[in-house]
């Protein structure tokens, strides 16, 4: 195993070669805000929250997929990056309909936590109040598109871990939405195994258990990581 040493926010870090900047930062106890990435799923680098500055590179690089390199100098929290992260969160809040007070995920929502983390107390951009729908056709779960941030974790977990590929992204641009099957009601898609993995990995209250009411959704992405780890290493007992 070869090791890389690099400098993140004036802190020296030594980490296994092939790791990502995000893993290196976490190792060093430096928090970088993320949303789309989830350990155990393939990365898509779509939310752009984890962008960092690397000396010698003009471009900002997504920490979740950028491999560490020997001698790298990384800055994760410059004023420029903080401004960018706040704007990303504002863009997310204004493109959906996020009403925390009545949301199943209130208090346990990654989007809400991110807003606090980046200091977004209000949005400088106007809210768009899109006309979105709720799919309650599934016997156990619901999908509220108003709360969806299109991180595509559900799409990936269903395809890569459950192997059912119920979910996909339909349409494009601002019209993008998560679709079940061939854009059918979720309950009409036979491929769904009712496993609930998509609900578990959803960072907001977009995917939820039908019985839950405000503040009652508690996701645990750790369970997914344990499952992926167990499968990978054929190690079923802790």
């Amino acid at each position: 195993m070869s090791v890389c040493t690099l400098r993140i926010d004036e802190r020296d870090v030594a980490i296994e070669a092939g790791s990502t900047l995000l893993q290196a930062a976490r190792e060093a106890g430096i928090a970088i805000p993320t949303l789309c990435v989830l350990e155990g799923l393939s990365p898509v680098a779509a939310c752009r929250l984890c962008l960092v500055e690397v000396s010698g590179s003009e471009k900002l690089l997504p920490a979740c997929i950028t491999p560490v390199q020997e001698g790298m100098q990384v800055h994760t929290a410059t004023p420029r990056l903080q401004e960018i992260r706040r704007t990303v969160i504002e863009l997310l809040f204004t493109e959906g309909n996020h009403v925390c007070a009545i949301c199943v995920a209130n208090g346990h929502c990654e989007l809400q936590d991110l807003a606090v983390e980046v200091g977004m107390d209000h949005s400088r951009l106007p809210y768009r109040f899109p006309d979105r729908h709720v799919d309650l056709s599934h016997p156990l779960f619901g999908l509220d598109h108003n709360r969806c941030v299109l991180c595509t974790r559900c799409v990936r977990v269903c395809d890569e871990v459950e192997g059912a590929h119920v979910w996909d992204v339909g349409w494009r641009g601002e019209h993008c939405r998560i679709i079940a099957g061939l854009d059918e009601p979720w309950g009409a898609v036979d491929a769904c195994t009712h496993c609930g993995k998509c609900v578990e990995v959803c960072p907001t209250g977009a995917l939820f258990h039908k019985g839950d009411t405000s503040e009652e959704k508690h996701s645990d992405p750790g369970r997914l990581q344990a499952l992926v780890h167990a499968r990978h290493h054929r190690q079923w007992t802790p």
Binding site: V88, R172, G173
Partner: protein, 525 residues
């Protein structure tokens, strides 16, 4: 006297009745008269176009070009055919023929004289549906030479020394790209031609595809031999039905005649080309999205690296070049690096100029030469305000800077890009906020929706521009417009989002006055 009548049947003239004209004139064909449909003859604004080549047996054949010919009026067409027949039957030395309707175009006009046709050498000359004509014109000879010499490294070195850069927009050095793919390990490699041409106002690639598909196939085969690929794809947009039909036919002909397939021209080189037709998404022109689309998946960009050279179609090392890039290769090999010189660039000249159409000019030609001398400048009584290059990824060059030579560097210094070759001229009646908003609405519509800054940022930017156009904006909105532009540019995942703000930033830089004049009357002090 023998006549050769070339009728433009490419998209623009076809939409003005070029195909009807060709059919009407086919009646004139006889022992001494040839009538054929050809690709774009250049000045599209004067279509439908007809070129008449007369040969009396002594001296060079004489070429005359005629525009604005009748296409739908049967009587006028019959008169035209009669007049041409009389001309053909006239045994005397060639006298300039005058059409009963339409007008003669001066082939000494700078529009024609200042062009240097390397990529478009055969376009408008040969019948694109005939491989016999292509072979007679010398197409596939460079491929033959390359196969005989069988020295891929030498070809790559030649391309590198020529300084040829990609014509698809980003201008990446072609020789370097070829060398990278050639060095990749593995036996199976892929060559892809990007014919998705989606920039509004751009139709250079269409001109090549419709007018001379065999040169593209030759260029692709030479590239495949150089990098060691045996499979090729042409990804062409569905909005180009004629180009698709001609490509299909050309591929079939080339297979029949042994210029594609196995053991090409008796060598040990195998190369097959498959056609992939897009489904209307602009973003599928972005190379990683294009690869996904070829594989049958949703056309969405992914982060690079890995670059396609490393991991492209079906995970194989892949060379992706634009149509015009490939079409440069046979000319480069024929001429050699010295004579090829700085090469050329094909532009589609449109907008507020007297003569619009497709031109190929030496690299480094002044914008003023192109727009004023060749294109004839703005219509009567108006002046040019700006020239837009690079489509939704580009910007505007203001009239004061028209003496800029067209090179990758000089355009970049002005805050725009060479782009793929769309050149839209705008006169003094144009409101630049309108232009910026047009392109932002385009990017908003074409965003794939994968990453947040582009998906949601283009919507906010478009809404802000609309606010300005409705005279409801204040100086703070303008500030927000600017900072959001920079944010979307710096953070988007692919080239679409990264360059979507450029038309706004460019017009803000050169035409800020247009924005200030549109701020809300209550807001201005």
């Amino acid at each position: 006297m023998s006549l050769c009548l070339r009728v433009c049947t490419a998209a623009s003239c076809r939409s003005r009745g070029g195909e009807d004209l060709r059919q009407a004139l086919a009646a004139v064909a006889g022992s001494s008269t040839v009538v054929k449909g050809v690709g774009c003859l250049g000045p599209c604004s004067e279509g439908p176009l007809l070129e008449l080549e007369t040969a009396s047996g002594v001296g060079h054949p004489e070429r005359q070009l005629f525009g604005n010919l009748p296409a739908s009026d049967p009587a006028a067409l019959a008169a035209l055919a009669r007049s041409l027949r009389a001309c053909a039957e006239n045994p005397k030395a060639p006298a300039p023929w005058q059409p009963p309707a339409g007008q003669a175009l001066d082939l000494n006009h700078p529009f024609f004289r200042l062009q240097r046709r390397l990529v478009l050498k055969h376009c408008g000359r040969i019948d694109p549906e005939s491989i016999t004509e292509a072979l007679a014109a010398g197409i596939y000879q460079q491929l033959q030479r390359v196969l005989e010499a069988n020295d891929p490294a030498a070809v790559i070195e030649l391309v590198r020394r020529s300084g040829l850069r990609g014509r698809g927009g980003a201008g990446y050095p072609t020789g370097l790209k070829w060398a990278t793919v050639a060095k990749m390990p593995g036996h199976e490699k892929v060559v892809v031609c990007n014919a998705d041409e989606g920039d509004p106002g751009a139709f250079m690639d269409r001109t090549v595809l419709e007018g001379d598909p065999h040169t593209l196939l030759e260029g692709m085969a030479i590239a495949a031999h150089a990098v060691g690929a045996s499979r090729g794809f042409i990804y062409v947009r569905a909005e180009y039905p004629l180009a698709i039909a001609r490509l299909r036919q050309a591929i079939h002909q080339a297979e029949q005649q042994g210029w594609l397939g196995t053991a090409i021209a008796g060598s040990r080189f195998n190369f097959e080309i498959a056609l992939r037709v897009g489904a209307g998404a602009y973003v599928c022109g972005e190379e990683t999205a294009l690869i996904q689309s070829i594989e049958g998946k949703r056309g969405m960009p992914r982060p690079r690296p890995p670059y396609p050279a490393e991991q492209g179609v079906f995970g194989l090392p892949t060379l992706i070049n634009n149509v015009e890039t490939f079409a440069n290769v046979p000319a480069l090999l024929r001429l050699g690096v010295e004579a090829y010189g700085g090469g050329t660039k094909v532009f589609s000249l449109t907008g507020d100029v007297l003569r619009t159409g497709v031109i190929e000019v030496p690299m480094g030609t002044n914008l003023r030469t192109i727009v004023e001398t060749m294109g004839g400048g703005a219509p009567q009584g108006r002046t040019i305000k700006a020239v837009q290059t690079g489509g939704p990824s580009g910007g505007c060059v203001p009239a004061q800077q028209l003496d800029t030579p067209v090179t990758y560097e000089s355009l970049q210094a002005l805050g725009t890009i060479m782009g793929s070759g769309g050149m839209v001229v705008m006169d003094d009646t144009t409101n630049m906020v309108d232009i910026a908003r047009f392109f932002m609405a385009f990017s908003r519509e074409e965003s794939c929706g994968k990453c947040v800054p582009c998906r949601a940022g283009t919507v906010q930017l478009d809404n802000l521009l609309c606010r300005i156009l409705e005279r409801r904006a204040n100086p703070a909105d303008l500030e927000q417009l600017e900072s959001l532009c920079v944010m979307v540019m710096d953070t988007s995942l692919c080239g679409l989002g990264q360059s979507a703000p450029k038309p706004v930033l460019s017009t803000l830089r050169h035409f800020r006055g247009d924005y200030l004049a549109m701020l809300s009357p209550e807001a201005t002090p």
